[in-house]
Amino acid sequence: MTEKTINTSDLIENNSDYLLRFAMTKLSDLELAKDLVQDTFLSALSKLDTFEERSSLRTWLTSILNRKIIDHWRKAETRYTDPVSTFFDQEDPNKHWITNTRNNSDLDNIEKRIIEDESYQELSDCIDTLPEKWKGIISSKYLQEKISDEICKEYDVTPSNLWVIIHRTKLLLRECLKTKNLE
């Protein structure tokens, strides 16, 4: 068997920023993301022999990084307070909306302004307040456009967990955007 060799500097120059951006779509912590990218290169170089050239090098690196991110979540997973009771009245048999969280403000105006002024900062700040696993899930869904079955498998959630998480995510993001626009 011939030993596969690779130019380390090229490998890093060509892929590190891409991998870092990928990691930051799923994590909030830049230092952690940099560490995981570094670990990814370490693992990749140590198992270069297992790289099959069916996939591109970048795809292969991304899949190693993705596994590291998921491992991180498994370890870091903490109980997240279910925000549902902040939106729906749990005492009411109809679980109606709690009045002060009703949305009379117009998200469509907020959307227009964000697009016109290219002011994405508030939106990305709001996304950063989400639990990391949820952030990963929406990133797989909206950025990588993965199909739901794949997302469920990747994050180890059932389909009904998935839509409940998306529901909660949207409630939180809407609330966050609204609050920022009142400031």
Partner: protein, 76 residues
Amino acid sequence: MKTCQEITEKIEKGNVRKLSIRERIAIRRHLKICPDCDHYAKDSAILDRLLRLELKRMKQYKFTQEEKSALIEKLR
């Protein structure tokens, strides 16, 4: 009779799975009489668009040149 919480969860279910006719009718009926949930349905679609936009824009995170050199050194 479904609750507001269930109806709005079902709206998200509909983006993941195909809903039964019964479910779709329940949603449509509820939205007619409940302005808050109707509002949620519209906001949900707006958030889909915003999330797609934001995540596609991908923040421009980069390693500094020093960090890259250190990394290369380490992996040699």
